[in-house]
């Protein structure tokens, strides 16, 4: 895999004294700002959308976790909350919306229908058995429909997941950096995170 320009810069910075400390803190800053300003895409497919709306309203107030700016266009959204039953006919549209979202993008599958087809699993010709057949899903929230608390818990789980990402180094370089740090710790070198 070819290195991106930012990864090349990261390589130079990381090789400098104290450079890994800078990189790791820069990554933490990226992750922190991404995790706490998730913009969900405004769309609902069935009754879960009511709970999604309730989660955004004042009683449950998703704004406390920075995920309240529901955008009306996928171009401005980075979180897709699939709230409801995905039918065979709706699946290509959901896929198109996902493709239109800019990276980095995350998906929460909300409720039993979006996760596995829910009550429509058996004897049904028209419902997709889980939205993960068309788009990758980060967090599954069970429930029929899930309470707003459950959705907010799912968002918190997604935030934890985002906080473990390596937006600058990428997973391969991050693993290498971790190995280097371990080796440096054994060698007793000072000044490394």
């Amino acid at each position: 895999m070819a290195l991106s320009p930012i990864q090349k810069i990261a390589g130079v910075v990381g090789a400098a004294p104290g450079g890994q400390f800078v990189l790791l803190n820069a990554e933490a800053l990226f992750n922190w700002s991404r995790a706490n300003s998730l913009f969900p895409l405004t769309f609902g497919l069935s009754c879960c959308a009511i709970e999604f709306m309730a989660a955004g309203m004042s009683r449950h107030d998703m704004a406390r976790f920075g995920a309240e700016v529901a955008r009306a266009t996928p171009r401005q959204a980075d979180l897709m909350i699939v709230a409801g039953t995905v039918t065979e006919k709706m699946a290509p549209i959901v896929r198109t919306l996902y493709d239109q979202m800019p990276d980095p993008k995350y998906v929460i599958s909300m409720g039993a229908c979006a996760t596995a087809g829910g009550p429509f699993y058996f004897d049904n010709y028209s419902v997709l058995k889980g939205v993960d057949q068309v788009i990758p899903v980060d967090v599954y929230v069970p429930g029929c429909p899930p309470r707003p608390e459950a959705l907010i818990y799912g968002i918190l789980k997604l935030q934890q997941k985002i906080m473990r990402e390596h937006p600058i180094l990428g997973p391969r370089l991050a693993a290498q950096a971790a190995k280097d740090r371990e080796a440096a710790k054994i060698a007793g070198a000072p000044g490394l995170a």
Binding site: Y121, D123, N124, Y125
Partner: protein, 154 residues
């Protein structure tokens, strides 16, 4: 019009119709040959004046080899309701359209075509309405099989 006068009026004009007084709504079964004339009559007769199709559906009976089309009609002028049933041949399911009498039936008939495969003759736009255009088969027929369906089939 009350139930019994309604039946009397219908059966006087169409002796081949079979009235079922038991269900919640007054119900009439009409042979297919007389179906179109029957519908035209109850639509235009001012004493009956069924001007609103409340709903339309169908029932699949594979053993008898028929598909029963069911029409729920209402009259705003008189406030009475009527259920009309008519059998179509299951192997070659064809029915005369009533979408020229009730515009609302245009979509109802497309829905019945979509799910049961009944072709309505002289319908202005006989194509699927809810399923994808390339769908194979008619899902509400009892012998419909689909590899995507989990669980028991009927």
């Amino acid at each position: 019009m009350e139930r019994q006068p309604l039946f009397d009026a219908l059966l006087a004009a169409f002796p081949e119709a079979v009235a079922d007084p038991n269900p919640q709504l007054p119900e009439v079964k009409i042979p297919r040959a007389r179906f179109r004339a029957f519908m035209e009559r109850i639509h235009s007769d001012p004493a009956l004046a069924f001007d609103y199709p409340m709903s339309m559906t169908a029932v699949d009976w594979p053993e008898q080899n028929i598909i029963t089309c069911v029409y729920h009609l209402y009259s705003f002028a008189h406030g009475h309701k009527l259920v009309v049933k008519c059998d179509a041949d299951r192997a070659d399911a064809r029915m005369p359209t009533v979408s020229d009498l009730w515009r609302g039936c245009e979509w109802f008939e497309r829905e019945v075509y979509d799910l049961f495969g009944v072709v309505f003759e002289d319908h202005p736009d006989m194509r699927r309405i809810m399923l994808t255009d390339d769908w194979v088969g008619y899902p509400l027929r009892k012998d419909y099989r689909d590899s995507r369906i989990a669980g028991k089939t009927y």
